[in-house]
């Protein structure tokens, strides 16, 4: 045997030499040519050709069977997963196959939704994006769930977290850059695009253009897209907001009930006889929830919902805690913001109602023609400073957005419109609660007329023909208020034409208010409210009386022990509708409504129409979904609380994870529980509020936490120290020691000063460094403007002695002096 060469060159040579020459049989070429000539018949697969094919087929079949049983295979092979849930339907709405759609239906990617004349549908995704289709529209969802195609009609799209890439239209593509957009197909090749939020990029064969929020662009198939023109977005998207075409819902009564231990407020509607109770909408939050009066047309009304205040029955278990397990004195409530809505009860369509930035309304009243909103309130241009704050009465033009100030001062009394929407009646209450000169304001000219100099007046109401004014006046000293009006007055009627002396309708000293004209203007309804101290609380009662407008025939029609929320004439004028509040013992649990119909034809018949949670019964499926939604809501609030506490602790990663989890739950809530009736915009507002917290950088979170610690907690600790010791500390270490050894006598929001971990936290930046203290000479109190403490890491986080802090210190010194006096006694 030859030795095996180590050189690969030699191996190469040997391989080359190992080649054997073979010559094909002579007839092979002819046979191949013959085979090719009869090609379709002969496809030679070899003697065993069937074997590998059969084996392959069996293997593929086995593999398929195996795959089908795995979740991954179900995703690929199974039916497509749902992409959108139908959460609101009005009129004829069908899918691409002509099947009618109902609330709760879910559609996969690739589905088509078609609305007929007067039809309308709202679709939401798991991640919180929303499509609302107007009448006569057609929308196709792409299979990949990243695009949609508006084939005709009009679409309002709220694209959350960049879920969708683009909407194609007849005129080109609207590339969504995380936006809210309203697209209306005008004809076969034109689409009007209004950008509500964020920005979009319009693209077609001729070019592209970026359109910013607050503008409207016309996209035409035959031309290059242009930038948008500034536009009143609210007016442009009014169709989506559901204002406008008003049907009569006269006689229906809307009422609010509270469910889920303070989680949600539901708006219900019943017919005049108490039948046909059904839920229109669910909003998160309960406290101070109330409805405003019907807007013109009696179809929509304002709903005011308090902050989401969650009272968990299982508080101890399901409660966010400090990481170190220390005590936490957190209130069992979460405040994520109060919101106001205008709700159309016939369609369930709602729109967030927002006044321009800086304005806050105490009492507001829409004009009978529905175009103006008069409100008494305040205006604070800088949210952080009270310097330029002003009070007064304004008129806000709902169509143009113009704001006009009518009256100056801290007005807190109700406002009433004349039937022709030209005059306002209110009281010029310059000094809160002491003086109420009755005035009439001409809205167009701004002229203010004092009606009767000697007479105080509030809670006025124009007669239906606009010639008379009923009001409360002749107030006695002291007493309480109801709806901004002292309860110690009497009812008067003033003839606006003759301008004579006002005529007294109710006896003096009885305390009457809430004058309400009958529809024919011949009679007046008024209430007399009494609140007496009894045992531990108040005992409330009220009486309702009806009198002729000329002051004759006054008689009591109903009396009740409880609180009066509202009283109205029936449209026919033969009965009264009364909403009373039955307070639960203790007064902590949400109050229950009761709606009564009182006949005033002399029979005195009273019908209890219900109106409480107990008699507002949901169908089983809706009820189940509502309960499930409440469970989700509780978890979301819990996660939000955890996020807040971890932020305070400077645990950025955990805080952001908790915020992310809360935002995701809020975003998916409507998708998961479409029958729970939640307002999509309500939950979207939470997502918008929480998501930035989840996405912020660690540095931003630390800075925010640092800011809170130094301005909120450190300032409190300093105030408490300075108040008790009657001088300023020499350094922060002294305050820290003092905090741990002294009973503060009060708690700062979430802090209990027995918790050493917490106290340490107050005096340090979340990045670990102690705050730098700037001592005052001789430990005197600082002057306004002095910088007291700074953060070594965040130059913008510092504590400056302000007028507010100085005032609080004076208060503390007073309290401490009182306490010392008490101790001496």
């Amino acid at each position: 045997m030859r030795p095996v060469p180590q050189d690969l060159k030699q191996i190469e040579r040997r391989v080359r030499r190992s080649r054997i020459e073979f010559a094909p049989p002579d007839d092979l070429l002819d046979r191949v040519r013959g085979a090719l000539a009869t090609r379709p018949q002969r496809r030679y697969a070899g003697a065993w050709g069937w074997a590998p094919r059969l084996t392959g087929a069996v293997a593929i079949a086995l593999l398929a069977i195996l795959l089908v049983r795995t979740p991954a295979a179900r995703r690929i092979l199974g039916p497509r997963p749902p992409l959108v849930a139908v959460v609101a339907v009005r009129g004829p709405v069908q899918d691409g196959n002509g099947q009618g759609l109902a609330i709760g239906d879910r559609l996969p990617g690739g589905a088509t939704v078609v609305t007929g004349a007067r039809g309308r549908v709202t679709l939401v995704t798991r991640r919180g994006s929303e499509f609302t289709l107007a009448a006569d529209s057609r929308l196709a969802l792409a299979r990949d769930g990243k695009r949609a195609s508006l084939e005709s009609g009009r679409l309002y799209c709220r694209n959350r977290a960049h879920e969708f890439d683009a909407i194609s239209t007849v005129a080109g593509t609207i590339a969504l850059l995380g936006t809210t957009v309203d697209a209306a197909t005008k004809d076969k090749q034109t689409v009007a695009v209004t950008v509500v939020q964020g920005e979009v990029r319009l693209e077609n064969a001729h070019g592209r253009a970026v359109v910013a929020a607050g503008t409207k662009a016309i996209l035409t198939a035959s031309a290059s897209p242009q930038e948008g023109q500034p536009i009143n977005v609210a007016a442009e998207t009014a169709w989506y907001q559901g204002r406008g075409d008003v049907l009569s819902a006269a006689g229906d009564t809307a009422y609010l009930i509270q469910r889920g231990d303070g989680l949600a407020t539901e708006l219900w509607v019943m017919h005049a006889d108490g039948s046909g109770k059904h839920r229109v909408k669910t909003y998160t939050g309960t406290y101070w929830s109330r409805t405003g009066p019907w807007l013109p047309g009696r179809r929509s009304l304002p709903v005011e919902v308090g902050p989401l205040a969650w009272t968990n029955p299982d508080f101890a278990r399901h409660q966010a805690r400090w990481s170190h397990g220390g005590p936490i004195l957190i209130e069992p409530a979460s405040r994520l913001g109060a919101r106001e809505w205008v709700l159309d009860v016939t369609t369930g369509q709602d729109a967030p109602f927002v006044l321009p930035a800086g304005y806050q309304a105490f009492y507001k009243e829409a004009s009978p023609n529905g175009r103006l909103l008069a409100f008494s309130g305040r205006y604070q241009p800088d949210p952080k400073s009270l310097e330029h704050e002003e009070g007064g009465i304004w008129v806000y033009d709902l169509t143009t957005g113009a704001m006009k100030k009518m009256l100056d001062g801290g007005n807190t009394t109700p406002i009433s419109w004349s039937p022709d929407s030209r005059l306002l009646a209110t009281s010029d209450a310059k000094d809160y609660g002491t003086s109420y000169p009755l005035v009439i304001i001409d809205v167009a000219t701004g002229e203010v007329r004092h009606l009767h100099v000697q007479m105080q007046g509030a809670g006025a109401s124009f007669s239906p023909d606009g010639t008379k004014l009923a009001f409360c006046g002749d107030f006695q000293k002291g007493g309480s208020w109801h709806g901004g009006v002292p309860t110690s007055g009497s009812i008067f009627v003033l003839d606006l034409k003759t301008r004579g002396e006002p005529r007294r309708l109710s006896p003096a000293g009885e305390g009457s208010l809430m004058p309400r004209w009958s529809p024919d203007g011949k009679r007046l309804l008024y209430a007399t409210i009494r609140s007496e101290l009894a045992g531990n609380g108040h005992r409330d009662s009220f009486r309702l009386s009806v009198a002729g407008a000329d002051g004759t025939g006054s008689r009591e029609v109903y009396s009740h022990k409880g609180l009066l929320r509202a009283a109205e004439w029936s449209p026919a004028g033969n009965a009264l509708y009364i909403i009373t509040i039955e307070l639960n013992p203790g007064g902590h649990k949400p109050a229950a409504n009761r709606i009564l119909r009182v006949a005033i034809d002399g029979s005195g018949k009273v019908k209890d129409l219900g109106g409480a949670a107990e008699d507002s019964i949901l169908p089983p499926q809706e009820r189940a979904q509502t309960e499930a939604a409440f469970a989700d809501l509780r978890e979301a609030v819990y996660q939000f609380e955890v996020g807040k506490i971890r932020s305070y602790e400077g645990r950025a990663k955990e805080a952001k994870a908790a915020f992310r989890s809360a935002a995701d739950i809020f975003a998916a809530l409507v998708w998961k529980h479409p029958l729970a009736g939640f307002a999509t915009a309500d939950l979207a507002a939470y997502v918008d509020q929480i998501e930035p917290l989840a996405n912020q950088s660690d540095d931003a979170l630390f800075q925010e936490t640092c800011q809170q610690r130094i301005t909120h907690f450190l300032s409190w600790a300093l105030l408490l120290y300075a108040g008790r010791e009657r001088r300023f500390p020499p350094d922060l270490a002294t305050v820290e020691r003092w905090s741990l050894t002294t009973d503060w006598g009060m708690k700062i929001e979430w802090i209990d000063n027995t918790d050493a971990e917490w106290v340490k936290m107050i005096f340090r930046c979340p990045e670990g460094d102690s705050y730098v203290f700037h001592p005052t000479p001789n430990r005197a109190y600082p002057k306004v403007g002095d910088v007291i403490a700074t953060c070594p890491n965040h130059p913008e986080c510092r504590l400056v002695w302000t007028e507010g802090l100085a005032g609080m210190l004076r208060e503390r010194l007073g309290i401490e002096a009182n306490m010392a006096q008490q101790r001496r006694k």
């Binding site: 030859r2 690969l8 054997i20 010559a23 094909p24 085979a35 090719l36 002969r42 030679y44």
Partner: protein, 184 residues
């Protein structure tokens, strides 16, 4: 392309036949495989881009046809070549050279297809690196690396073979190992 195919049929058929035989196909199997190769090629010739691609492409098809039958073919080939050798006269002066070639072939044919093909196409079929890479649908760099690796594997296989022969009991092989080495 049809005309080019006809030309290729004539010029390439003997080469493809030889290629399949060298890979170990028996005369009958090679006969069938050649027909199959050209049939498949004929059906798919419209997909081909240029005439220059034809040769490597045909080799590629032939290889895939061969792979389908390899298990059977290798067995047959080993028997066939063994029989050829047995039939060769022992005093043939070329017998030592033939034995060495046989051992190399044997080593080659026992390589995984991944390594066998680069060697077969480059050294036996005398395709360029580019053509061979095209036939195997791999980048040229990969082909070069595989050739190198395959040569090493052949060297290893030959070394093992040699060791086996030296340690083995005398027999027909013992006679052959006794033959004087021939210098390369």
């Amino acid at each position: 392309m049809q005309a080019a195919f006809d030309r290729a049929l004539e010029s390439q058929l003997p080469r493809i036949y030889a290629y399949l035989r060298r890979l170990g196909a028996s005369a009958a199997a090679a006969d069938d495989l050649v027909q199959e190769t050209f049939l498949l090629a004929w059906q798919r010739v419209s997909k081909l881009r240029g005439e220059g691609d034809l040769k490597p492409w045909l080799y590629g098809i032939a290889r895939r046809c061969y792979l389908k039958h390899r298990t059977r073919a290798v067995r047959e080939a080993t028997e066939q070549i063994g029989a050829d050798l047995a039939a060769a006269p022992a005093d043939d002066p070329g017998s030592d050279e033939r034995l060495a070639a046989h051992l190399v072939r044997e080593a080659l044919l026992h390589l995984p297809d991944k390594y066998l093909q680069p060697l077969a196409l480059v050294y036996w079929e005398e395709l360029s690196y580019e053509e061979a890479a095209q036939a195997l649908s791999i980048p040229v760099g990969t082909l070069g690396w595989r050739v190198h690796k395959a040569l090493k594997l052949v060297r290893k296989a030959l070394a093992e073979e040699g060791a086996e022969h030296e340690a083995g009991s005398p027999g027909p092989e013992a006679d052959r190992t006794a033959c004087p080495p021939v210098e390369d």
